[in-house]
């Protein structure tokens, strides 16, 4: 049984078809990449998956539930969390609060308890604090829990965004260009972290990366989008030598040359 299954998904904005008849399947525990050149529709796929846009047509099934028509917060509560291409932290709040907000939908106490600071309030707050610190520790942000998110260095903001997404306790984690703006060493560390997190939290990860070489290292299976259409799928090895992928990335002429060289 696949964890996420997208069937014939399309999305058009006016005359522009951003996603065209896309179908994909993700099995539990997989680390899947979604790549493609600029403007291929990768982020649009994420936005549809997370309920930001309604799809024009098609179906999305997650753990046997349809996600079409659900609001973003409902989808998150069903077990899909995401990060954003251009970081969207709660800038003026502390690192700890950023993570605690993501824990909110799993918090155990009611509004009335918070007014009177009842025992369940204290218990709930303590357990949220503990969980948040545990997550921050994994991402080596625990000593900065009291820092305002805006003041963190770029790489740490990226890590905080991932830890915040993890705090929402997802089954499926969507990462939108997690390595954007990172230097090669940071990227390497991040990729190892993603792989580790996937195993430690028994997650399924779908990640968008603009940069092909990075995805090749970490993903087990890759989907390639171009102009909203799926042009290839398979293992990194298959994708690397796929003529249509080379064509999409480097242009037709190079693709022909590459093909000639192979013969």
């Amino acid at each position: 049984m696949s964890l996420l299954s997208i069937k014939k998904l399309s999305k058009s904005f006016g005359g522009l078809i951003a996603v065209n008849n896309l179908s994909l399947d993700i099995q539990p525990g997989e680390l899947v990449g979604l790549i493609g050149p600029n403007g291929a529709g990768k982020t649009t796929v994420f936005n549809i998956l997370t309920g930001v846009y309604p799809p024009s047509s098609g179906e999305i099934w997650f753990q046997e539930h349809s996600l079409v028509g659900l609001k973003p917060y409902q989808i998150t509560q069903k077990g899909i969390a995401r990060t954003f291409q251009n970081i969207r932290l709660f800038d003026n709040l502390t690192v700890l609060d950023n993570v605690r907000i993501a824990l909110h939908s799993h918090s155990a106490y009611r509004v009335t308890s918070s007014f009177i600071r009842s025992a369940s309030f204290k218990k709930g707050e303590n357990s949220m604090r503990r969980k948040a610190m545990e997550i921050l520790k994994i991402f080596k942000l625990d000593d900065k829990y009291d820092e305002i998110a805006r003041n963190l260095p770029y790489g740490e903001q990226r890590r905080l965004e991932i830890s915040r997404a993890l705090a929402a306790q997802p089954r499926l984690l969507l990462l939108d260009e997690p390595a954007a703006g990172m230097n090669p060493q940071e990227t390497q560390e991040l990729m190892e972290l993603i792989r580790w997190v996937r195993n430690a939290f028994s997650l399924t990860v779908l990640l968008i990366e603009h940069d092909m070489s990075l995805v090749m290292g970490v993903c087990e299976r890759i989907y390639v989008l171009d102009y909203g259409m799926l042009i290839a799928q398979g293992s990194p090895q298959e994708i690397k030598s796929h003529p249509r992928v080379i064509e999409a990335y480097l242009g037709e002429e190079v693709a022909t040359v590459a093909e000639d060289q192979q013969h």
């Binding site: 930001v52 973003p72 917060y73 709660f90 907000i101 604090r129 994994i138």
Partner: protein, 353 residues
């Protein structure tokens, strides 16, 4: 890779950085303040006029903090606060005149006093609840709007309530409505303390953080599983509840209410106090409510000129401190052990892991 199970317990307990018992210290301070004012009143240093001003300060504090909940913490720009205040005032006044005043009390004097106090509390709560109900009713459709549109919609709401009241003859219409004087300093003070305490508790809970996340980034909040509409309506309703409560206190303090009192300008006055104190600071709201109420009274002799002076103060504050007097800081921040801002210096408890 870090071991998840070894987060130091010490560290979790200390994570808020507040010294233990700070809340109790503050509450004892509040009690001392109350007793001090009562003492001054008994000794004759404070005349009834002063007491009236102090009551008004308490009422304004509730108004400003409750509007800050909507505008400052949840980031929804509301201009209809006087409308909710009017609802609380008129509902409670109507109930006082038609229920409490129709009852005959008998029995021991202390029992009658107690019964009357209980009824007054119920009347205030009724006013607040009706205002809160209206808050839900209006909040559900209008909170889908953003920014300027929401401001205009809530402005319209305030005006609708005002015009409605002008045309309601049951409560005196434009002539106004006389109300028995039931609010005294103790009522105003302690209801203010309770209201502020409840709102502070709310803000410092996971539900309060959910509201703040809506202000910070609505899209990210939704993506983190926060039902943003629910929290917007919740903040709006709470704000309306406490505006209704202060309206009820207001009506029974000034003995006479009319629709004009709850016009657009009052909403603006409350908003000015919120902005002056700092959007997102309860301490700032309280400070600004005290400051502006006192300044307005001191300038009373200057009649029209006081509006100009007031405007000049506002312009100066906005030029010098656009984030408001206190920004989003709280007085309790003073007691936090400082950790922010020095990344070179590792926190002491960090090494204990």
């Amino acid at each position: 890779m870090a071991d998840t199970n070894q987060v130091n317990q010490m560290q979790i307990a200390n994570v808020e950085n507040y010294p233990r018992g700070l809340r109790w210290v503050i509450l004892v301070g509040v009690l001392l303040l109350y007793l001090g004012i009562l003492g001054l009143k008994e000794s004759g240093s404070l005349n009834p006029y002063h007491i009236q001003i102090l009551c008004l300060i308490c009422i304004n504090i509730v108004l400003v903090v409750s509007l800050n909940l909507i505008n400052g913490f949840t980031g929804q720009f509301s201009l209809g606060h006087a409308g909710f205040m009017a609802v609380g005032a008129y509902v409670s006044a109507f109930l006082t005149r038609n229920v409490i005043n129709q009852l005959t009390f008998s029995g021991a004097e202390w029992l009658v006093t107690l019964e009357k106090a209980g009824l007054f509390l119920l009347v205030i709560l009724a006013g607040a609840l009706v205002a809160a109900f209206l808050g839900v009713l209006v909040g559900l459709p209008t909170l889908r709007l953003r920014g300027d549109y929401l401001a205009i919609a809530t402005l319209g709401l305030g005006e609708i309530i005002r015009i409605l009241l002008i045309n309601l003859d049951v409560v005196g219409g434009a002539r106004g409505y006389a109300v028995p004087k039931l609010t005294n300093f103790s009522w105003a003070f302690w209801l203010m303390v309770i209201a502020v305490l409840l709102m502070v508790n709310f803000i410092n809970s996971t539900h309060g953080r959910a509201c703040i996340s809506v202000r910070e980034d609505e899209i990210a909040a939704e993506a983190m599983g926060i039902n943003t509409t629910r929290y917007k309506v919740m903040a709006f309703t709470l704000g309306a509840f406490f505006a209704g409560l202060s309206g009820a206190l207001f009506a029974h303090l000034f003995v006479y209410i009319s629709p004009q009192i709850f016009g657009f300008l009052r909403s603006i006055d409350i908003l000015v106090m919120v902005v002056l104190g700092g959007l997102g600071s309860i301490t700032g709201s309280i400070t600004a409510a005290i400051f502006i109420t006192v300044v307005m009274e001191m300038l009373r002799q200057l009649v029209e000129l006081r509006v100009i002076i007031f405007a000049v103060i506002l312009i100066l504050v906005m030029l010098v401190r656009p984030q408001g007097l206190l920004g989003n800081r709280e007085i309790t921040d003073l007691f936090r052990r400082k950790q922010r801002g020095d990344p070179d210096e590792p926190a002491q408890h960090q090494k204990a892991v």
